[in-house]
Symmetry: C2
Subunit: 289 residues, 2 copies
C-alpha cells in the first residue's frame, strides 16, 4: 500500500469515533480538526521510508511509530497556535483549533493528542516487546526536555537563544525521531539514520522561516510575517534571505549525502527532492530572487 | 525505604537538572515548581501500596509507574489552573505555575510533564519488557480519551454532563490507573484492583467538591468556591452538603471492602483512613454539621 494511504488509514483507526466512544463530543471534534485533513505528513512518511529502507519486518510497529510522531506534531501545532503563543487564526488553510473550538478545547485537544500518540505507540511492542522501550525513549526525547519540540517552543520564552539550538529542538528533533524510530521499528541500528533526520529537520525549519517572510498566506495555509511580528529567532533574520536559501540547499544536499547505502535509498532521495520543491516552490524562489 | 521517600527520590531523579541539562532554564524551573513541593502524593502512594500488596518483584517498574502517574496528575493541575480554565492564582499554597511563570510556560510545562511521564515509564520495561505495553495502555487510558482526565476536563466544555461520568474521568481514572498499574508492575492480575481505584477516585472528587464549598483557602492551599463560580458539576450542588458527606463515607467503606485478601491489606486500609482524615478533617466536618 502507498505510504500516504497507510498513514491516513492508521491515523483514522487511532482516532476512530468507535474506538473513542464515550468521549466528550466537542473534544473529539477538536482532535479530528487538528489531524484531518493533514498537511504533507512528511514526518510519518520519512519514518515509513526509513523503516522500508531497513527491510521493514514489523509493519504495525513502523506505522505506530510513524503515526505517534504525526500526532505529536499535530499537538504541537495546536498549542503553538494558541492565543498566548502565535495567536494564529488559520492553519492548513482552515480555522486553527482554538479559532474553531475555543481556547479550552485547544489546550485539551493538544493534551489528548500527546497522550493518544503514546497510547498508539504501545502497539509497536505487540510483535517485538523489546522494541517498545527504545521507541518510547526516542519519541519521548524528541518531544520533551531538554531537546524536544516542547523545549524548542520554550526557548521562545527566554531572553538568550542560540538559533541552531532552538531550531534543532523545535523542528529537528521530531525529524530525527522519524528516521531513528523508522530504523528501530524494523530492528535495525538507528545510529546511522540520525544525521538524515537532523539535517532534514533543520532544512524544514529554514524553509519555514523563508516562507514566513516570502510566502503568501494562500500558498502556505497560515498567516505570514509572524516571526518578525513576534520577534522570534529566524534564519532569514540571521542570514538574510539569500543566505537562508543557500543554507537550505546546503542542508538538503547534506541530508541526501547522509543516506546509508541501502535498497530504499533511491525512493528516499525522491521523497526529499519532492519535499524541497513543496517547501520552497520554484515560483517562490524566483519571486525572492 | 518508606514510600513517600521513594516517591520523592524517584521524582527528583526523573526531573534532575543533570538529566535535563540543556533545557530552557525557565521551562525547567516551571516544571519543578509544578512538582515540588508536592501534595499528598496519594496516587503514587496508592500505586506502590498495591504493588507491595501484590508481592512487588520489580521496584523500578513500580516506581516508574507511580511517578508517571504523579507527573500526569501535576500536568493536569497546571493546565486546569490556566486562565482559560480555573484561572487559579494559587495551588498547594504557592503561586500556580501560570501565576509564577506566565501562561506560555504553564502550557509548555504541562506538555513537558505529560511527555516526561511517558519517558519515565519506559524504565518499567527494563527487567520485564512484556510488562511495559500493558502499563503504557493503562496509564494512557487514564489520561486520554474517552475516559481519562483530559476527557474529564473536556466535559466542562459541554452543555450536557452526567456528574458521575465527569467525576469518573476527571479524578477516578487516574486513581484506577494507580491501583491497576501497581498490580501490573508486579506481574499480578490487575482486574481485582480496579474497583479500589475507582471508588477511591470518586471519593476523592466528592471530598474535593466538599472542600471547595466548605474549606478555607489556608486549609486546602488553593482558592475555594470555584465550582459554583464557574458553574461546574459538583457533588455538593447535586446532593447538598450532607448528602455529599454521606456519599463520601459510603465510597470510602466500599473502597476498603474491595481490597482483596492479601498480606498488605492492613497497610492499605491505614493509608485510606489517613487519606479520609486528610481530605475532610474532623474540624471541617464539625463546621459543616
Amino acid at each position: 500500500m502507498e505510504a500516504g494511504k497507510r498513514i491516513e488509514q492508521c491515523l483514522t483507526a487511532i482516532l476512530a469515533p468507535a474506538a473513542l466512544e464515550g468521549s466528550p463530543p466537542r473534544l473529539l471534534d477538536a482532535v479530528h480538526h487538528a489531524v484531518f485533513p493533514g498537511g504533507a505528513r512528511v514526518r510519518p512518511r520519512l519514518c515509513l521510508a526509513v523503516a522500508h529502507a531497513c527491510g521493514e519486518d514489523d509493519p504495525v510497529a513502523a506505522e505506530s511509530a510513524a503515526c505517534a510522531i504525526e500526532l505529536l506534531h499535530c499537538a504541537s501545532l495546536v498549542h503553538d497556535d494558541l492565543p498566548c503563543f502565535d495567536d494564529a487564526a488559520t492553519r492548513r488553510g482552515q480555522p486553527s483549533v482554538h479559532a474553531a473550538y475555543g481556547e479550552q478545547l485547544a489546550v485539551l485537544a493538544g493534551d489528548a493528542l500527546i497522550v493518544r500518540a503514546f497510547q498508539a505507540l504501545a502497539r509497536a511492542g505487540e510483535r517485538h516487546p523489546a522494541r517498545l522501550a527504545p521507541l518510547l525513549v526516542t519519541i519521548g526525547r524528541s518531544v520533551g526536555m531538554p531537546f524536544g519540540i516542547v523545549a524548542g517552543q520554550a526557548w521562545e520564552c527566554e531572553d538568550k537563544v542560540v538559533l541552531s539550538d532552538y531550531q534543532r529542538a523545535k523542528t529537528g528533533a521530531l525529524f530525527a525521531a522519524a528516521t531513528i524510530a523508522g530504523a528501530a521499528s524494523a530492528g535495525a541500528d538507528p545510529a546511522q539514520w540520525r544525521a538524515l533526520g537532523e539535517l532534514l529537520g533543520e532544512a524544514y525549519q529554514v524553509a519555514d522561516d523563508v516562507r514566513d517572510v516570502a510566502g503568501r498566506c494562500d500558498e502556505i495555509g497560515k498567516p505570514t510575517g509572524r516571526d518578525a511580528a513576534l520577534g522570534r529567532p529566524s534564519a532569514v533574520r540571521e542570514f538574510g534571505m539569500s543566505g537562508a536559501l543557500q543554507r537550505l540547499r546546503y542542508l538538503i544536499s547534506g541530508a541526501i549525502a547522509s543516506i546509508p547505502a541501502c535498497d530504499g535509498a533511491g525512493s528516499l532521495r525522491e521523497l526529499i527532492h519532492a519535499e524541497e520543491r513543496r517547501l520552497v516552490p520554484p515560483e517562490l524562489s524566483r519571486r525572492v530572487a
